[in-house]
């Protein structure tokens, strides 16, 4: 787990990782957290882009973030190679 965190939008299909940081408008972030996307959860990119589709703990979410929001993901080792 030594890899540097990358923003969510740089993940490629099938990249996996753990959310390490979220920043942006607090109200917007709160909604993401309530639907299950929070620091410490496992994510997998299914379909990158705007909007993107990700798999969060086995649930599929589609999201288009507002401009200011950033989600950083620490990639899993295996998906790095």
């Amino acid at each position: 787990m030594s890899a540097n965190p990358v923003p969510l939008e740089y993940m490629k299909p099938e990249d996996r990782g753990v959310v390490v940081d979220m920043s942006g408008d607090p109200c917007h972030l709160k909604r993401l957290q309530e639907i299950g996307l929070q620091v410490g959860c496992n994510v997998r990119m299914v379909c990158p882009g705007k909007p993107c589709m990700i798999c969060v703990e086995g649930r599929r979410l589609s999201l288009r973030l507002d401009e200011k929001a950033e989600i950083f993901v620490a990639p899993d080792d295996e998906s790095q190679s």
Partner: protein
Amino acid sequence: MKPSKKSVALIGNPNTGKSSLFNALCGMSARVGNYPGVTVEQKIGSLLDSPDPIDVIDLPGTYSLAARSADEAVTIDVLCGVQPGVPRPDAVVVIVDATNIERNFYLLSQVLDLSLPTLVVLNMWDRVVEEKHRVDVETLSQRLGVSILCTTASRRDGVIAVRKAIQQLVAPNSTSYAPKHSPREQFPEVFKKESASLRQKLAELQHPVPAVEVDRILIDKDGHFQQKMAKLELPGLLDEIESARERLSTAGCKIPLFETKHRYQWVREQIAGLVDRPPANQSSSSDRIDRWLTHRWVGMAFFIALMFVIFQSITLLAAWPMGQVEELQGWIQGWVEQVVAPGPLRSLLQDGVIAGIGGVLVFLPQIVILFLFIAILEDCGYMSRAAFVVDKLMSAIGLSGRSFLPLMSSFACAVPGIMATRTIDNARDRMVTILIAPLMSCSARLPVYVLMVSAFVPDDRYAGGWLSLQGIVLFLMHCVGALVAIPVAWFLRKFFFPGQASTFLMELHSYKWPSPYVLFQRVWERASAFVTRAGTLIFCTSVLVWAAGYFPGDTAPLTAAQKKIATLQAELDAATAEGSEAVSSQLAQAEEELNLARSALIDASFLGMAGKWIEPVVKPLGWDWKIGVATIASFPAREVIIATLGTIYSLGAEEDEESEGLKAQMKAEKWEDGRPVYSLATALSIMVFFALCAQCSATLLVIRRETNSWRWPIFSFVYMTTLAYLGAYLTYTIASAWGLAA
């Protein structure tokens, strides 16, 4: 003791099986859906097998009590007992998706703060067993201090235990189910202090509010409860709330994110060591389907192709049943002719009732097929993928994929479509969606298109008979409204509801086979609504139009001519071979008289007088006065046009065409100079007019209700009717220039 009826509310995240459990508990049916936000209004049923009557309320699904959209506001209002018409529930049943306990318990932690007697139901237990999760239900129940039951609502497993538990939950003096502790106790001390002092202040202002609501006022910036407080206009209150938030944030308690932090922490403490689940990040077959269906181009092409196939199949599949219904209609016409003597009664039955309502009911097969397709798409989980695909387009005009689901259900009917906009959390997006939803081509337009298309578009087939020109035109007509909606939405968003572009966040539930029960129920619901409308609203309009077309002219020549024909017919049957020739020519002459009497009657009628008046207005659209009158009569409900055209042409029809149905009568209509009234250009202009016009009182009323003002229904009516007139005019002009008017 108040003897009033007890009630319990079902609450949970979307798609956890609330509606399924509701149906299993009550044996009644709320709609069950596989996309977020089918339950837009709370449904109430009564618990089966209960000695005392207990109401069960099915609430819209939500991830949190921090209400953002209108349907989430309904949920929290019901739970707090402030929703008009619904008493505060005596107990809550929280339905938890047992395969995703951590996230679902976030909502549970908020519900426990309400201190209502609570029951937790772990639903989807079949999947827990199948996917080998481990949940220590017993210990979990002890930690939470509420009882927990496991169910598989879709198979009705464990439902009887839930019924028993609900009865105990609301029984008088039952304390065993009230939650022992409230997660809000773990909030930081500073927050609890601010909340208490705000509560004190509200009480001093003669407005006591429960602690939980005060929390929500403080935490949710510009949220539902803050807006409510703003409406009360208590002096200095909003400033007080704002400064309390500032004090909190300097004290290190960040509004609103501290709530998720503390609640998730509480959840982790509760489930620590009790819940294990297999790693869920493997790709599944659902993913492989999704990769194609949500691909930027492939997904879009698939969606358009799907819609195309649907409208092709409507034309192909409905032809046979439609023919059968038409035959039946002709048979009843003949029967009435034999049984009822000529006169006003026969005319009312034949021209008013059978030609009117019958003409509309002929289209039931098409409508059923359309509803079936929409229900299948909604229930299998494809709709939320389509929403994902179109989000890119929608964001270009300032909307989000969220608006797609209501718009798509407006293709069946705009009324539930507009109600479904309650799931849109951005208020501006919601308004724009409400205003463009009536432009989507609803099922009431389908009969109009089918009538025009089947009468005036040639039945050319391509690709070995699988592709029909009529189906293509039908599909294109359904695109007209949607295409016009794009600039309208852009315009509205830019000039009427300006603001930041909205974000998009939606859970995509996994695909499943649509349940036949759900499909049947939904098609039944809509089809019976269609038939009821035909029996009530359309019936009344038909009778009115008939009366307006029959009176006040002199009906004596008509009745005389009909009697003469009847006697001549009898003579003809009795006459010998050489006598029959003379009788035949007399008969032909009598029929001529009858036709003259018919058109004289309708020309002299109220309808004819009104028609002469509007003819100049509709002439540029390529219409004659009869189409104009029929269109005006169909402003309360657009499918009325079929009934009114049926009545008008049946009244004025030439005798020998009467039994051949509306299509033949339309083709036989002539201008005074002998040209046929209907050409392809006229048919297209009628269809475009109907595609764009706001001819539905039910829709306007629901816009009034959802926007709480008369301004927006009037606005919709004016802009749509103007567009319709311009669109029809352009269509007729262009089609005529192309030579389609001959």
